[in-house]
Subunit: 199 residues, 2 copies
């Protein structure tokens, strides 16, 4: 489709290669963008390059950061003896949004998944074990997803952490708060039943 | 949320200002982008600036283009005596995708809308009338949307074009091909009834 010209087509092409952005949305975004003030487009364009160039892994927890240490690890008011293990930086962000967790994190950047062919050496597990042996850790909270891969990974990690004499816990899975039972999948319902607590 | 660092936050902010992109999608896209090869991010970044800087209006039809004339207007094999009037370049693109329309276009870049306070002087109507008086036009096909604004605009244009002695037509509105009657709104159903044809 060379209805307009090469530069709109090029932009539409580039945008349509982003995940979840189809040809139609890409075209709509392209038209929106060329109608914006140049400063705004420049600003987005620079933000892209800056983020790509400046982001690296935190040397402690493997979270993404601009500096040596991520904001969580460099925060002296956090409890550095409690490590929450998450699959990726988005999961870390989700727990940070609660504003209640006061420990630190470890980002695995993946899961152990025989199906996808990813093993323990494909995730940032070595770095976690190094932290545990190097620092004085009281508890490791495993907050991988409640999926097959997440559970497999949690199990694997617990078998490494417990022999090191460190308390190892798993976040609860069950019925989400505010969820309507009739809309919740069977596996979650069974998990909630198994995990029931004395009142 | 300064969970990561300023450059990811900046990128997420910029992305979330795009239409239809919420905070969540923006974050997902930002993480995706920083995980991509630098060349790809660079390519998107440059496509943004290039499109913003190079795109202008076609001097004939007001379509968006990189050059003086858009690809449709500069195509000698098109019938330049038939002008299809559309609201915006996306509508032009939609007709071009059919691959069957052989005339040229005129892009209004808006509609006459008393509700939104846009009048005839806010759209590219003067340029259309100049084309009609300057060139030898056989037919003007009004392909504005079948909305209140689109119909108002169509009516207004027909009252200018017809006195100039030029044939003026309107694209049909009715039930979309492949559409299921039970899912189609009442206005469209009534329009299809009114526009019924002898078999």
């Amino acid at each position: 489709m060379d209805t307009y010209n090469s530069s709109i087509n090029k932009l539409t092409d580039e945008l349509s290669r982003l995940p979840g952005i189809g040809q139609h949305t890409a075209q709509r975004l392209a038209f929106y963008l060329i109608s914006q003030p140049r400063e705004r487009v420049q600003s987005l364009s620079e933000a892209l390059i800056n983020a790509r160039d400046n982001v690296r892994y935190c040397r402690e927890c493997m979270n993404l950061t601009d500096s040596e240490q991520c904001p969580v690890c460099s925060d002296g008011k956090r409890d550095h003896s409690i490590i929450m293990v998450v699959e990726n930086p988005r999961d870390l962000a989700a727990y940070e949004r609660t504003g209640r967790y006061r420990g630190v994190y470890h980002v695995l950047h993946g899961t152990i998944s025989p199906m996808m062919g990813t093993g323990p050496s494909d995730i940032r597990l070595k770095e976690l074990m190094e932290r545990i042996s190097r620092e004085d850790i009281a508890e490791v909270i495993i907050a991988t997803n409640s999926s097959l891969e997440g559970e497999t990974t949690a199990m694997y990690i617990s078998r490494l952490v417990k022999p090191a004499g460190v308390r190892c816990t798993r976040i609860a899975s069950g019925v989400p708060v505010g969820g309507d039972l009739e809309n919740i999948d069977e596996v979650t319902l069974l998990r909630a039943l198994e995990g029931r607590k004395e009142l």
